[in-house]
């Protein structure tokens, strides 16, 4: 059956010339046999049988204890010794909104003005970004695409990374609104008391805006249309999540109160460097966290030198729902290192399968799509990949098969083509 796998490769490598063509709808049923399946919910099946039909997972079994009827499948792919993971999810991502950071024309992530809840990232999402094709080759198949800047940046949407256009890419539109909480500790040389008053002033402004939005949705029939306020409706009726970007205890404490004050049912903190210090309160208030980039320096000189590495394990102990995201400098291209950040977190205490969940099922839960994505469970979308080895370890992450909704996607990209071009020029094999 390895023969079939190589046939699949040949098909992909030969038919694609420069731009990756989105995979076509699954026609034939596939059976992934004998790979180690990391389900995403904490479970692992060392020798698994995963059946995929019409874009869905139709069977997940332990092939050691069950006899698998292979005759039902058009293609049987033997992956013994290899690993299967649910497609990794890049949360709080800007992929497709910016390709070359230094080139103004390529930047589509900031809008002018401070309160822009009506801004929608999805319509600017570029499915043909050259970066995305280098990200999915490492197992990242889905992304929450977020606008940036201002106080309220706008709404984010969940997409998959193999599409003809943004409509095609869309999984969940406008699933949440992003609020950049004012910074309590601002790195400014100004007097602290002034900073504090700025923090409070900013906080009041936000409360006032939310008050207006709250009143607006109550009286939406009588009021004249205000598209900014209207865009906030989903936060109050629970159809949209409020993502609040903040790091420190003082900010998080205020955010918890804010959530109560406006009775916001879904709230997720993005960042949360200090979240482990207030984990109990976060759990009590049903607040989830998208932890900051693992590969970063501690924020205080006297912090444990490995603190950013161990944030996931610290939070995991508390039972707060969390996932790992990667915003920061050059975040678009660094997205491909997301699995390795999980690897580092595992080195610093995170349980392996919780590590899997931290960029699969947990993310799907936060995004509200765990009914169809995030794990290798019956009935879910067949959005998954096979890696030759442990996908969290750099030297063994080698994605061989990648499926989105059962569609086999190309694992080629410009970088690989360039490499091959020059290998050929210099006669290197």
């Amino acid at each position: 059956m390895n023969k079939l796998l190589s046939i699949l490769y040949i098909v992909f490598c030969s038919t694609i010339i420069s731009q990756e063509t989105p995979g076509s709808i699954q026609q034939k049923s596939i059976l992934l046999l004998d790979g180690t399946a990391h389900i995403g919910n904490g479970q692992v099946i060392k020798r698994s049988a995963i059946g995929i039909e019409n874009g869905k997972i139709t069977m997940v079994e332990n092939s050691l204890v069950r006899t698998i009827d292979t005759s039902n499948y058009d293609e049987i792919i033997h992956i013994k010794g290899k690993h299967v993971y649910p497609g990794f999810i890049a949360c709080n991502s800007t992929l497709g909104l910016m390709d070359i950071g230094a080139v103004r024309a390529s930047r589509d992530l900031y809008e002018v003005g401070e309160y822009n809840p009506n801004i929608r990232s999805i319509i600017a999402y570029n499915t043909d970004s050259k970066i995305t094709t280098t990200v999915r080759t490492n197992g990242i198949l889905l992304g929450q695409i977020c606008p940036k800047g201002g106080v309220i940046s706008g709404s984010s949407s969940l997409v998959q990374f193999d599409a003809w256009n943004w409509e095609d890419a869309l999984i969940k539109a406008d699933e949440g609104i992003h609020l950049n909480w004012p910074r309590y500790y601002n790195r400014s040389k100004k007097d602290k008391s002034q900073l504090l008053s700025n923090y409070q002033k900013r906080g009041k402004e936000i409360v006032e805006f939310f008050n207006r939005a709250f009143v607006y949705q109550k009286n939406s029939k009588t009021a004249t249309t205000n598209i900014r306020l209207k865009a906030m409706n989903g936060l109050f009726n629970g159809t949209q999540q409020l993502y609040v970007h903040a790091n420190y205890v003082k900010e998080i404490t205020d955010i918890i109160n804010f959530k109560k004050e406006f009775n916001i049912s879904k709230l997720c903190i993005i960042g949360g460097y200090d979240s482990w210090m207030v984990a109990k309160q976060l759990k009590e208030n049903n607040i989830s966290v998208m932890l900051p980039r693992i590969h970063s320096l501690p924020k205080n000189n006297h912090d444990n030198i490995h603190l950013p590495y161990s944030l996931p394990s610290k939070l995991a102990e508390s039972g707060v729902l969390f996932c790992i995201q990667n915003s920061g400098d050059m975040q678009e291209m660094i997205t491909r290192n997301l699995p390795f950040m999980v690897g580092t977190a595992i080195a610093y205490g995170l349980d392996y399968e919780t590590g899997v969940a931290s960029i699969t099922l947990n993310a799907a839960k936060i995004l509200g799509v765990d009914d169809k994505l995030g794990s290798l469970e019956l009935g879910k979308d067949a959005t998954l990949f096979v890696s030759k080895g442990d996908a969290f370890d750099i030297k063994t992450n080698k994605v061989e098969i990648s499926l989105i909704n059962g569609r086999l996607i190309s694992l080629d990209n410009d970088q690989i083509r360039n490499y091959n071009k020059y290998k050929k020029k210099f006669n290197i094999d």
């Binding site: 007097d191 602290k192 006297h302 050059m330 080195a347 970088q415 490499y419 290998k423």
Partner: protein, 926 residues
């Protein structure tokens, strides 16, 4: 005294490259030794008085502007100002701050240092030759070298940097420090210099909120604790110092000097530092500094000993003129008196400031009780209730010598009294007028003295002994690691040599060297510390070819296109916690590079990460010098905004010509020296000596192959271009750093003999890196080019092992080749592979023990050795953290106690730290 600040010049519309000072002056506006502060001097009554109140008689004033600031003057605080100037051009001032100059150069600390050095070389040359021009700046400088030379710095790092310049040019700088000398007291003592030490102590922080407290750096906490001990530590180390009161008002100055005395500074030393030593620094010991016949009659009269808390300066005599600052205690009239006016006795309370007392008359007024207009009657007696009201009447009081005037208003009118205070100050008497205009006699007899509180209450912490920590940052050492003999047993050794990976092997290190590799068994003596290396992996210490950690105030001298004269070694900051963080990531050697803001940047600093050492001790000994070059977007200012469009070059075409121009100049410079040396008559040089040019000298070193180039590069065209420039000018490109399109010109690089130091997978952050590929390192490696993986980033620097592993993932490299990219390959690129970079007998014992395969994501650094000393131990880290937490908590609790006792505190300000990378132009203020 007030010397007016320079007028703020309007920021020019485009960067100003030339001096706006037209005339026979030095080319750079920050160098103006010809400036005389006296020109901008104005007498200011208030600041004069403030200095008198501190007890000073003579001050040295200058204008704080520029690098060579010009001269200051010595004046007395005599208010008869026509007598006050004792000496104009009394001393010359220098600093590392550019000041009000709008000229772009220098933009960094290393630029300031380079400029000052070049200026000194220029002055030497001017002095020893017959230049065909006049430079008034240099001439004034030369003429004033016999005067005291004062260098103003604000911290011990700058202080030591100034001392180095003094040594280089044989200048006798007196250096003003920052009050943190105790942190590096041995180094400071070894300079042999005299210092001027400020008395400004850091304010305590308001740390009642633990989250706020967590934002204060450990160094700041410690400095609050230790700063008051500074002077006593200087004294104990027999360092000569004067004290400056700059930055303090009179009250704060007196408080702080007494605080320093209470912390162990002897009164003799303190006195000397305020009198004799400054007089001698100013070379004015003949006139001032002691009470002696023939000297100026500058003296202060104190109520008690000056350095005692109860001491009050009563009078300050300057040139024989007294200023009364405080009325002597003998006529402290405060207290409670019985004031008797015509047999009416009332209580008079005198309180307030001793020199400006306030007074009130207090008596009881008895009246009927009335509510809503009705008399309230006592139900028993039927008579109105009597109520007693305490009445307080303000008294205006004035006291001149022993004459006293009182006036006050009672119900029946005003009393005006005049009299004298008798000697014991507790009894007054005199005459006055009552409201009727009749003359009356009065007396006031004190029956209670005003309780005199301590005149100046000093709040402080209880710290009395300074325990040094190296460096005074988080995770500093209280005792520095020492050389020991270690035997790492039964481990997997990644030799980075032909031997490849050895299993179950022992490695013995002793005396800082690798002594033995193999099976040692009983060879070791008892003092050898045995480390179980089973299931662990040992590699050579990692080498980061491209780092920007541990740099003070600017990684770019980004002003000019060529700045070969600036040196990173001048600006090492050994206190950067990132040094320790890198060690914890297995890095033992880092090349600190200049940024990429210009085609020719500055000279690199190669350091071993000897955490705790001083800046000089960090230097990698006997390593050849390097310099940073840069190509592409950064040097052509593509992303610098619309203001920066006038510096040449603005295109890659211009970059080539910058190099041709620079190396052509360097060659001609070399020729002129050759000619000078070779043209002799009777053994004597007959040609005028060429001017020493630090920039061209550095470029000449490149041409002479004594300095090597690391060139920031991205796009194939420019890489190719620079190799062609090098070939035609006769030099070599040693290393292309970043070299993201190296894979396109690998054949050409190989032919030229250049190595590559690249990012593992960075791309797409700017236009010129859109063709970068993560397979670059593997392809270069396969082509037989020496290739290293570098960080350019303080965070990634501590995960270089992971970055190396990407060579396996993307390019299918072998594990040995991958680890070599962060060990022996960078060592080869840096020409230090004879000392470090592999595990080989005789090499430096710079080693890292890993918990697993070092290329695995799950691997952690277990131990890091540098020069055979154990600098990092994962197992000891929790203990180290506990100790740090405890120390911080202890200082924080002291701050809280201090606040509760009434001490003043400031709000916590978050730290302002900037991490350097290649393209950072800003100065981070550290």
């Amino acid at each position: 005294m007030v010397v007016s600040s320079p007028k703020k010049k309007a920021r020019p519309n485009s960067p100003q490259y030339e001096s706006s000072n037209k005339g026979p002056y030095y080319w750079n506006e920050a160098i103006h030794p010809e400036y005389k502060a006296i020109v901008d001097f104005t007498f200011n009554e208030k600041s004069n008085k403030e200095l008198l109140k501190k007890g000073f008689g003579v001050v040295l004033s200058h204008r704080e502007d520029g690098i060579a600031r010009g001269s200051g003057f010595v004046s007395t605080l005599n208010t008869f100002s026509n007598k006050s100037l004792l000496l104009n051009d009394a001393a010359c001032f220098y600093s590392f701050k550019k000041g009000s100059s709008n000229q772009v150069y220098p933009s960094s600390l290393m630029g300031c240092i380079a400029l000052l050095r070049q200026f000194n070389y220029d002055a030497d040359w001017y002095n020893n030759s017959t230049p065909a021009f006049k430079d008034y700046s240099i001439e004034t400088y030369l003429n004033s070298l016999n005067k005291p030379q004062l260098f103003i710095t604000n911290n011990n790092l700058d202080l030591l940097r100034a001392a180095k310049i003094a040594n280089e040019f044989n200048l006798n700088y007196v250096i003003k420090g920052g009050g943190d000398e105790y942190e590096r007291i041995n180094e400071i003592k070894n300079t042999g210099k005299t210092f001027i030490i400020p008395l400004v102590f850091p304010k305590a922080y308001d740390v009642e909120d633990p989250y706020d407290a967590s934002k204060i750096s450990t160094r700041k906490l410690r400095h609050w604790l230790n700063a008051p001990l500074n002077l006593s530590i200087l004294e104990k180390n027999e360092i000569t110092f004067a004290i400056t009161s700059k930055g303090l008002g009179a009250e704060a100055f007196l408080k702080n000097i007494r605080l320093a005395v209470s912390k162990g500074l002897s009164k003799e030393s303190a006195y000397k530092a305020l009198t004799e030593t400054p007089a001698s620094i100013l070379m004015m010991s003949e006139e001032i500094g002691k009470i002696q016949p023939g000297k100026w009659a500058n003296l202060i009269i104190c109520s008690d000993e000056f350095f005692e808390n109860k001491g009050v300066i009563l009078e300050n005599w300057v040139q024989g003129n007294p200023t009364i600052l405080s009325i002597s205690k003998e006529i402290d009239i405060r207290g409670k008196y019985n004031l008797n006016t015509n047999q009416n006795i009332r209580t008079l309370i005198v309180n307030g400031d001793r020199n400006k007392p306030k007074a009130t008359i207090q008596y009881n007024l008895i009246s009927d009780s009335i509510t809503n207009g009705d008399l309230i009657l006592d139900p028993v007696t039927g008579k109105p209730f009597k109520i007693t009201k305490k009445k307080i009447v303000p008294v205006s009081i004035s006291l001149e010598d022993n004459k006293i005037n009182l006036s006050y208003q009672l119900n029946n009118g005003a009393f005006i009294l005049s009299g004298v205070v008798n000697f014991d100050s507790g009894s007054w008497d005199g005459n006055g007028q009552n409201p009727n205009g009749n003359w009356i006699q009065w007396t006031a007899i004190r029956n209670e003295k005003f309780e005199v509180k301590k005149e100046i209450k000093i709040f402080t912490n209880d710290s009395t002994i300074y325990s040094p920590i190296y460096p005074s940052a988080s995770f500093g050492f209280d005792t520095l690691p020492v050389n020991q003999s270690f035997l790492i047993k039964n481990t997997t050794v990644w030799t980075s040599e032909n031997d490849g990976i050895l299993f179950n092997t022992d490695v013995l290190i002793n005396n800082g060297e690798i002594k033995y590799i193999g099976n040692v068994l009983d060879l070791v003596d008892k003092s050898t510390i045995i480390i179980d290396g089973s299931n662990k992996h040992l590699t050579a210490g990692l080498i980061d070819e491209h780092s920007h950690i541990a740099i003070s105030r600017g990684v770019n001298e980004g002003s000019h296109s060529v700045t070969a004269e600036v040196r990173l070694l001048d600006v090492i900051n050994p206190n950067d916690v990132n040094i320790f963080r890198q060690i914890a990531g297995g890095v033992t050697t880092s090349q600190l590079l200049h940024g990429s803001a210009n085609p020719v940047g500055g000279q690199s600093a190669l350091i071993k990460l000897r955490w705790g050492a001083n800046a000089d001790q960090m230097k990698f000994e006997n390593a050849p010098g390097f310099i940073k070059f840069a190509l592409g977007e950064n040097v052509k200012q593509s992303n610098w905004g619309d203001r920066n469009t006038t510096r040449f070059p603005q295109s890659r075409m211009g970059v080539e010509q910058v190099y041709y121009d620079a190396f052509t100049r360097a060659k001609e410079y070399g020729e002129s020296w050759k000619l000078y040396y070779n043209t002799k008559k009777k053994g004597k040089h007959i040609l005028p000596q060429p001017r020493k040019d630090l920039q061209l000298e550095t470029l000449l070193e490149i041409l002479n192959s004594t300095r090597f180039i690391t060139c920031h590069s991205y796009v194939q065209s420019e890489i190719n271009m620079l190799m062609k420039v090098a070939d035609s000018m006769g030099f070599k490109l040693n290393t292309f750093t970043h070299i993201l399109e190296g894979y396109k010109v690998a054949d050409k690089m190989k032919k030229h003999g250049a190595g590559g130091s690249t990012f593992s997978d960075w791309w797409a952050y700017k236009y010129e890196v859109k063709e970068a590929i993560p397979h670059n390192a593997s392809l270069l490696n396969a082509m037989g080019i020496t290739v290293a993986i570098n960080s350019d980033d303080a965070e990634m620097g501590r995960r270089l092992n992971q970055e190396a592993a990407k060579g396996i993932k993307y390019g299918g490299m072998s594990e040995e080749d991958a680890i070599n990219m962060v060990t022996i390959n960078p060592a080869k690129l840096l020409h230090i592979d004879d000392k470090v970079g592999s595990i080989k007998v005789g090499k430096d014992a710079d080693l890292v023990l890993w918990t697993e395969n070092p290329l695995s994501i799950y691997s952690k650094v277990d131990k890091t050795f540098i020069d055979g000393k154990l600098y990092f131990d994962l197992n000891k880290q929790p203990e180290k953290e506990r100790a740090l937490r405890k120390e911080r908590a202890s200082i924080i609790s002291k701050m809280i106690a201090f606040k509760n006792a009434g001490g003043k505190v400031q709000k916590v300000k978050p730290p302002n730290e900037i991490l350097h990378n290649c393209s950072l132009i800003k100065d981070d203020g550290n």
